[in-house]
Amino acid sequence: MANYISRKHLSRRTLLRGAGTVLALPLLESMLPAATAFAQTAAGASRTRFGAIYFPHGATMSRWTPGDEGKNFTFSEILAPLEAHREHINVLSNLMHPLAYGPGGATGNHNRSCSTYLSGAFAQSGATPTLGVTMDQVAARKIGQETPLPSLELMVEEASLSCGEGLSCAYRNTLSWQTEISPLPMQNNPQVVFEQLFGDGATPEQRDARREQSLSLLDSVTEQISTLDRKLPSADRNRLDSFLTDVREIERRIQQAAARVTDDIAVPGKPTGIPDDVEEHIKLMYDLQVLAWQTEITRISTFMLANELSGAVYPGSGVRDGFHTLSHHSNSEDAKARFALINRYHVGLFAYFLDKLQNTPDGEGTLLDNSLIMYGSGMSDGNSHNHDPLPIVLAGRAGGALEGNRHLVLPSGTPMSNLLVTLLDKLGVEQESFGDSTGHLTI
């Protein structure tokens, strides 16, 4: 019986050690999940890191949009913290998300702001939440398959539990959809994220031992599933199949992760939990993304700074109002100015992330050079719940595919999906259209 484990276990380990390049092995390819099968993880796939960062409730646009256009533009009040990174910044004006408008009241509108952001698709009501594959996941199918984690999904707040207006909470709780019916849960606990990246345990030795244990557990479960199958209804067998697919995917990730953490990258101490202080929490989530990109445990991440309808208070912004409450500024200039302080505060934390990327060497340049990051919201004015024009900034040079230092004023009402499909171009994942796009942007 003991043989049962060690035999399976050994054979696979031996294979891995002997093989060198895991993905070159046909046998292992057949063990990869379905999602991998159609991906061409060929040599030469882009090493550009992609991040999408989201803040809810829009911004005080009059204090967000730069007053002048083109190269060497003047940074606006809200975007001023990014000025130090001018050469890596593009501000895009006049983008809109038409499908974020929809039937229903304010709550549904908030849900749609979030769900449309990366999907360019319409959130449907009904038993099975149905949206569309998000742009980050389209990229992950191509450039995420040769990394241990295809992508990383992060949030700061707890997931919302009930979301109103017949729309599933899935629309509000994540930015990333792997398929049109598979929302990917976002993680807000830094400790859990650390484990996703580096494994469970306080020391490298402990992490190695537990990685081995989890692999043998998953091996054993894989073995068992074929015996369970026989007496089950066909639909249940299907569901068990997808379970098995995901079991194999996790095995694949664990194996790859083991090889990924090399001696020249110092893995910091494991976080002890969710920090009380929201600023510390946001910074820690940014730190983890830097680590994940640096180690190439993943090249793709999505990050939600706060949930739609969040009542968060940011002491560091100097404003004491709740985030969502203040977004309903009733067009009072005073309230709009205070709301802008929250926007600027968030941008300041984004600058913290860019600082870290800029200070991390990668290839011949910096990690920021080799990154493409979209920072923005699915809402424009939080008071009127519109989605035009959206506050959007791009950071990073996408490995040379993108210039910087520009304020690009697009034609009014340019579909946001045109930007999403263009970002895919920049990541080397070219396709004709995405979501409700009507064309590509020349940026």
């Binding site: 019986m1 003991a2 039937p103 229903g104 009241g105 009501s125 038993a127 099975t128 939440p129 999904e153 919302s160 539990l161 009930s162 979301c163 599933s168 909470c169 899935a170 709780n173 598979s182 929302p183 993680q187 400790q191 484990e195 996703q196 469970d200 306080a202 402990q206 989890s214 557990l217 054993s220 479960v221 073995e223 068992q224 369970l228 007496k231 089950l232 209804p233 066909s234 639909a235 249940d236 067998r237 299907n238 569901r239 997808s242 995901d246 079991v247 996790i250 990730r253 002890t272 939990g273 309808l309 709740g322 969502h324 309903h328 009733s330 004015d381 008071n383 009127s384 719940h385 519109n386």
Partner: protein, 760 residues
């Protein structure tokens, strides 16, 4: 009484009497094709296609052949929505008779359709409950597993419980962690856990459950992993002895701690759960001094308790989980394997919710051996447990198909499978040993035994899961945690009181086995001082909740007067008659109104560029004057208007701003209403709509799948069977657990192509 007869047991005579004079002297019978021609097909035909419905050419005499369509018709007619206002409408009694006849036709030919839900996996909450039941160990599932998304209004719907790589990773890491925790993990390194007071928790008063004489504070039950030392760090606003009149007290398991500095200290603690209380005593000021304690981060009150550890562990200790696991302990090496087998069988029988043999546990014992070789006996047991917790038989609720039933045929599920369905329905967790025993002996399918078990289970504290999970989701109590009313009277204490009140009312209906309509009509409620003040009810003192009879002529009564529902159906800044109206129609009457058509302006608050001087009612009336809006809003708005005496956080009002509140309106069936009381009376006049909705929701929750048109005969028969008890909660539960939907499933066709619609 006549109406009741018409609705539930229409005699042929009653039907024959249901004549109606239609237009120019001609008389048609409610059940005749002419009737449908006259009142339905004029709009619902292929040309006009009103509401996307074509009734022309459907065979009314064989309604069962198009039950999917006719069930929609029944719903609209019973709700009084069809024929619509403005069209010629027969007497309500005639329309009722028409609906009843359709129901009878469908029910008498009902092909009971025990369609099974997709393969259920445990949701996060059920997972945590199962761990609690097996090991006597509480986990924070939110820290271990990804969140589950709700659909059909509930988070236990099989098709909505997605499987994702993150879930598998969560299950794997949870299996390893939980197994280490329950055995006692001597390799554990320190981790921190912070317990925070909600930001707007007023701490000026005594909080229920806290030591007498204190105000505010935090009470946490913390699970300490090992016999070891732990660091405590406590942050409280103003009470750390800087002022001799204010004293912060810290109590561990009821004993006040005396340490040099309460802000930060280290203590040796035994493994297992301990209760830590931190609260403030003010020696000088009486309770209720808002300016000091109302918001903790300003001056007073308790902010955070952080526990870090373990340090210098000395052993796994004597914990409840170790007692449950180590039913034997080897005295020598020879006894180890046998004891490990005993432990594995014992735990797996519970986890898999069925008796297991040693032979089936071969993979589990392989992990015991692996762990034993790497460490000691306990390491072996821990690894065996990790394998049990990752076993698909634990994570999924399998129901096997018998070989001797033909595809497409219905069959009774096994008693053990029934026991699992029952316990996940009533308890949100696995069966206990008694239920498992009864089921193992194949006695559960006996109606008397089933009844006995259901009664026992409803009386068990674990039935609180029905309140937390069923009522909590159906009545949007969970959503209340997400709302952020702008009213300065609203704070965390009021939020918690709202939730508590509604939970207690629902719990009371279960515990006292009251008719479910009492949820609408209760002339009593559950209040503490804070909530009673909010409602303007005198004579309730203190933080604890108690049953209070409403004073005569009090406008509340039942759910429609609960702050929870009134708040969750308002926007942050004002009431919303539209949200309230559609919430009641959809959630209490199963008569959901469609979403607004695309492109329609639904924002009544403007873009903020102009100061709005009109009332919400005026703006809505303007909105209704547009015909494309009016057809639905004339149905929705009057329901909401009747509750306008309750503001956006459920407090009573007679003025909205400067203008008088106008509560008047006419319901879709022509009933005039001008108050919450009128609305309640109207709902109770046709209480079968509410009961039917309740039954549908409960059936959805019980089955973990959407209730479809082919389930409606069962919904009606469950209601019918419960009439004798005026639809008491238990009677409805009994009807559901005995229904074919709950006790049977249909053999699948192994050759059929399977539609991949199971959330992955």
């Amino acid at each position: 009484m006549l109406r009741r007869v018409l609705l539930f047991k229409p005699s042929p005579l009653a039907l024959a009497l249901a004549l109606v004079s239609a237009g120019a002297g001609q008389t048609v019978f409610a059940q005749s094709p002419e009737f449908i021609q006259e009142y339905c097909v004029k709009c619902h035909n292929l040309d006009d296609y009103s509401g996307g419905l074509d009734l022309e050419g459907l065979d009314f005499a064989h309604a069962e052949a198009n039950a999917d369509v006719w069930e929609k018709v029944i719903r609209k007619v019973k709700a009084g929505m069809m024929p619509p206002a403005g069209q010629e409408r027969p007497e309500r009694a005639t329309m009722d008779a028409f609906a009843v006849q359709l129901e009878q036709q469908i029910d008498s030919h009902a092909d009971l359709h025990p369609a099974a839900p997709a393969l259920h996996r445990l949701n996060r909450n059920e997972y945590a409950n199962a761990i609690r039941d097996i090991f006597g160990f509480d986990i924070d599932a939110a820290a271990l597993l990804p969140q589950d998304d709700a659909s059909e209004g509930f988070d236990n719907i099989a098709s909505g419980l997605a499987i994702s790589p993150a879930l598998i990773q969560g299950y794997t890491s949870a299996a390893m962690k939980v197994s280490r925790w329950v055995v006692g993990d001597m390799t554990a390194t320190e981790s921190s856990k912070s317990w925070n007071a909600p930001a707007d928790l007023a701490q000026d008063q005594h909080i229920e459950g806290m030591p007498l004489g204190t105000r505010g504070g935090l009470k946490v039950t913390h699970n300490f992993p090992l016999d070891a030392e732990y660091d405590f760090s406590i942050r409280a606003g103003g009470g750390f002895n800087r002022n001799t009149n204010i004293k912060t007290i810290v109590m561990l398991d009821g004993e006040e701690l005396t340490v040099p500095d309460l802000r930060s200290f280290r203590l040796p603690i035994t493994a297992g759960e301990h209760e830590l209380v931190v609260a403030v005593m003010d020696m000088k000021r009486p309770a209720g001094v808002n300016d000091i304690y109302s918001v903790y981060n300003v001056a007073g009150g308790v902010n955070t308790v952080e526990i870090i550890g373990p340090f210098n562990p000395t052993g796994p200790g004597q914990t409840a989980s170790r007692e449950r696991i180590f039913s034997c302990y080897p005295q020598s090496n020879d006894e180890e394997r046998r004891c490990a087998e005993q432990i594995a069988v014992n735990i797996a029988t519970q986890a898999f919710r069925a008796p297991v043999t040693l032979a089936e546990l071969e993979p589990v014992m392989a992990f015991y051996e692996q762990g034993r070789q790497q460490g000691d006996f306990e390491t072996g047991v821990q690894q065996a447990l990790s394998r049990i917790l990752l076993d698909p038989r634990f994570l999924f609720r399998f129901e096997e198909e018998p070989a001797d039933v033909a595809p497409g045929e219905a069959y009774r599920i096994s008693d053990l499978e029934l026991a699992t369905r029952l316990s996940f329905f009533l308890w949100s967790t696995m069966p206990d040993s008694e239920l498992l025993n009864v089921a193992s002996q194949n006695k559960l399918s006996d109606a008397g035994v089933l009844r006995e078990q259901v009664l026992r289970m409803l009386a068990d504290p674990k039935a609180q899961a029905l309140v937390d999970n069923f009522a909590g989701q159906w009545l949007y109590l969970r959503a209340l945690n997400d709302v952020t009313p702008e009213d300065s009277d609203f704070d965390e204490n009021l939020r918690q009181a709202f939730i508590e009140e509604t939970e207690l009312l629902f719990g009371n209906v279960i515990a006292e086995d009251r008719p479910v309509t009492e949820l609408l009509t209760a002339d009593y409620t559950f209040l503490n001082e804070r909530l009673a003040e909010h409602y303007g009810i005198d004579g309730v003192r203190g933080s604890h909740f108690r049953k209070v009879a409403y004073p005569a002529d009090n406008p509340r009564r039942g759910l429609l007067g609960h702050g929870s529902i009134l708040t969750v159906t308002s926007t942050a800044s004002r009431t919303s008659p539209v949200i309230r109206g559609s919430w009641i129609l959809g959630n209490l009457l199963s008569a959901p109104v469609p979403d607004p058509p695309p492109g329609v302006e639904t924002n009544l608050d403007g873009d903020g560029s102009v100061v709005l001087t009109s009332s919400v009612r005026e703006r809505l009336e303007q909105h209704r004057s547009d015909p494309s809006c009016g057809s639905c809003h004339s149905v929705i708005d009057p329901v909401g208007f009747s509750l306008e005496n309750f503001d956006a956080i459920g407090a009573w009002r007679v003025k909205d701003g400067d203008s008088d509140v106008d509560t008047s309106g006419v319901l879709v069936d022509g009933t005039p209403v001008a108050s919450a009381d009128d609305l309640r009376t109207a709902l109770m006049t046709r209480s079968e709509l509410f009961v039917s909705t309740f039954t549908e929701k409960l059936l959805t929750y019980a089955l973990g799948r959407a209730v479809e048109y082919h389930d409606m005969p069962t919904v009606r028969s469950v209601m019918h069977a419960a009439e004798g008890s005026d639809h008491s909660f238990t009677a409805l539960v009994m009807g559901i657990v005995q229904s074919p939907q709950f006790t049977q499933r249909i053999k699948s066709d192994p050759n059929a192509a399977v539609a991949v619609n199971t959330a992955q």
